[in-house]
């Protein structure tokens, strides 16, 4: 007697999943410590916000030009 519940196979492509994630917005955080021989050498802390550009949302950062280059 099989007690498996039939779930309809709903195949969502990864690209559609990413599209929905971006539409909502997602924060990715991560902390990495690189160490050799039990001695901590490099510490990396990341906090990233990924989101679609939306009216009323956070403004994208302005373009920063290197020093010494003139404005067009």
């Amino acid at each position: 007697m099989s007690n498996e519940i039939a779930v309809p196979a709903q195949q969502v492509a990864l690209v559609d999943l990413l599209d929905r994630v971006l539409a909502t917005g997602v924060v990715i955080t991560g902390e990495i410590t690189l160490s050799i021989a039990d001695i901590d050498l490099v510490y990396v802390s990341l906090r990233a916000l990924l989101s679609s550009v939306r009216p009323g949302g956070p403004e994208p950062l302005p373009v920063v030009r290197p020093i010494g280059t003139d404005e067009p």
Binding site: Q11, A13, L14, D16, L18, D19, L22, A23, S52
Partner: protein, 90 residues
């Protein structure tokens, strides 16, 4: 299942399919995001027009590149096992 055979003949084609797969993923993602943005209704008609024609040109260019390397549309997709596929199957 996609195999990447690194023999002399297939190397170029395999590498091309790998690179084009990544590009196609980004292109389709941008396309979906563009549709969402248009639905928001904050773009002008001119911006929507430019967006649409650029995305169509990108699609045409991808098809040309695919055909150049003799790759079919299904070749630019990956089966991710339980995660489903990378791009929607047509």
């Amino acid at each position: 299942m996609t195999h990447l055979d690194i023999d002399r003949e297939g190397a170029e084609r395999s590498l091309a399919s790998l690179v084009l797969t990544v590009i196609e993923l980004i292109r389709q993602l941008m396309e979906r995001q563009a549709i969402r943005r248009i639905d928001e209704g904050d773009l002008s008609d001119d911006q929507i027009e430019r967006l649409g024609s650029t995305l169509m040109a990108l699609d045409a260019q991808m098809t040309r590149l695919r055909e150049h390397f003799g790759l079919a549309e299904e070749d630019l997709n990956l089966d991710l096992g339980p995660l489903g596929s990378l791009l929607p199957r047509r």
